[in-house]
Amino acid sequence: MANIIDGVKYTKEHEWVKVEDDIAVEGLTDYAQSELSDIVMVEPPAKGRTVKAGEAVGTIEAVKAVADLYAALSGDVVEINEKVIADPSIINKDPYGEGWLYKIKMADPEELTNLLTPDQYKELIAKH
């Protein structure tokens, strides 16, 4: 059973978002990492890039599958996790912690209301 943690919001594309003031940290959910399995390459959006909520901004490649990475929120990318680029298996091991992907400075915190609560996300993956 996939781990769904509290204190973060989720997207239909299986990303999580954690807000720290006006900065949002984004990563891949435990469900997503487990479905992809063995992640071997990750390309988050480049630092400095302006992304729009819902836009495909990067890719995740696993041994047997490839997935697009979608921006959960609009804003400017202020930091990317160089550690997971060097060792993408961190995402499999610790998707909500060390496996975070990138941070953005939110352009419109109102967009947070469009995201899923842990309960809503739980319902979503129960359908899979």
Binding site: S37, D38, V40, M41, T59, E61, A62, V63, V66, N92
Partner: protein, 362 residues
């Protein structure tokens, strides 16, 4: 309803992630494709391969009949020798690739799971001479024990000296009084064995193998790693790299086609293909920088499409992307560089032989 193999309960005990594959509930992975792959490369892993089909050819003309329906030379097989071969349609398209076991009282054909019924029907339709053809797939469990430490693990279970069984040889023997066919074969590039056992006794064999391998870290391996292991050895996968639209010569399987033997199905077309010359060839390629080729991606040189990838994956031993695909001649030459059209084009180079060069069996 998908079928369960005799090891289904064992797979569940090991917490395998189960998927439907070729009509069977099969483990795609246990702890992860990469760690499982490395287990087989470094020590020993166990695969449930009971989904594979087994078709027996019995009767006094079994050799000459099998020779007629397959491309390799069955008459060259000694007792208990095993041979990699293919069955062709008259147009030289591939019905299946398979193993041919020359056992004492029968020929055993081991075929791809998804093709078992198709193959059985094909063989029956083309029946000649005095033979009986029996699809025994549902009665047989098959387990593959693969990895450099396979022999010491398996030797604990058998009285016979396993070092006397050479690669691609088999023996009919007993494992704690359970009759088995034991062969030194596999699909991983490592030393290893495959055991065929009747369905009821299969779970006992599984337990004995795991007990014997306990001290060398024996682990169950899923279909995911089975694919990356075979791929690193550049072995073809039916349905991806070969099928009814490909002939064995363009697939690089000329070495299992014996055009100098008696008539066999597909021979006439192959002779014609050979005379006219090949138009395309299956090549293996490695990624130069970054990216992972995937099946069905188109292959380009400049803006000209020259082919398409048939298999593509990340190679855990090489830590980079590798692929197989058909390309128009003359782009099959080793060292040729082309692009595989992913979301971002992937630069690749044609390489020779297995991608992984350090297997204990090649």
């Amino acid at each position: 309803m998908p079928k369960k193999t005799p090891f289904y309960e064992k797979i569940k005990e090991h917490n395998g992630k189960i998927v439907e594959f070729a009509g069977f509930l099969m483990p795609v992975q246990f702890e992860g494709i990469i760690p499982e792959h490395l287990t087989v490369r470094t020590t020993v892993g166990v695969f449930d391969v009971s989904h594979m089909g087994e078709i027996e050819i019995r009767g006094k003309d079994r050799i000459v009949f099998t020779n007629y329906i397959t491309t390799n030379n069955v008459e060259k097989l000694a007792l208990n020798q095993v041979q990699y071969s293919a069955m062709l349609y008259p147009d030289a398209g591939i019905v299946d690739d398979l193993l041919v076991y020359n056992l004492e009282d029968r020929i055993l054909l081991v075929v791809n799971a998804a093709n078992t019924d198709k193959d059985h029907n094909w063989i029956v339709e083309n029946k000649k001479f005095d033979v009986d053809i029996v699809n025994v797939s549902d009665n047989i469990g098959q387990v593959a024990i693969q990895g450099p430490r396979s022999e010491p693990v398996m030797q604990k279970l058998f009285d016979i000296d396993l070092s006397q069984i050479q690669f691609y040889w088999a023996t009919e023997t007993q494992l704690n009084e359970i009759p088995v066919v034991l062969s030194r074969t596999g699909y991983t590039g490592e030393d290893g064995f495959e055991v065929y056992v009747d369905r009821t006794n299969a779970p006992k064999v599984w337990d004995m193998v795991f007990e014997a391998g306990k001290d060398v870290g024996i682990k169950p391996i899923g279909l995911g790693a089975r694919d990356t292991l075979r791929f690193e050895m550049r072995y073809c996968l039916y349905g991806n790299d070969i099928d009814k639209t490909t002939n064995p010569l363009e697939a690089g399987l000329g070495w299992i086609v014996k055009l100098d033997k008696d008539d066999f199905i597909g021979k006439e077309s192959l002779l014609k293909i050979k005379e006219e010359g090949l138009k395309r060839k299956l090549v293996g390629f490695e990624v130069i920088n970054k990216g992972i080729p995937r099946p069905h991606m188109d292959i380009y040189i400049d803006d000209q499409k020259i082919g398409a990838a048939t298999s593509g994956t990340f190679a855990p031993s090489l830590k980079k992307g590798i692929g197989l695909g058909y390309v128009a001649l003359p782009y099959d030459k080793v060292g040729t560089r082309f692009k595989v059209a992913g979301k971002n084009p992937i630069d690749v180079e044609v390489t020779k032989g297995p991608f992984y060069k350090h297997g204990t069996r090649k």
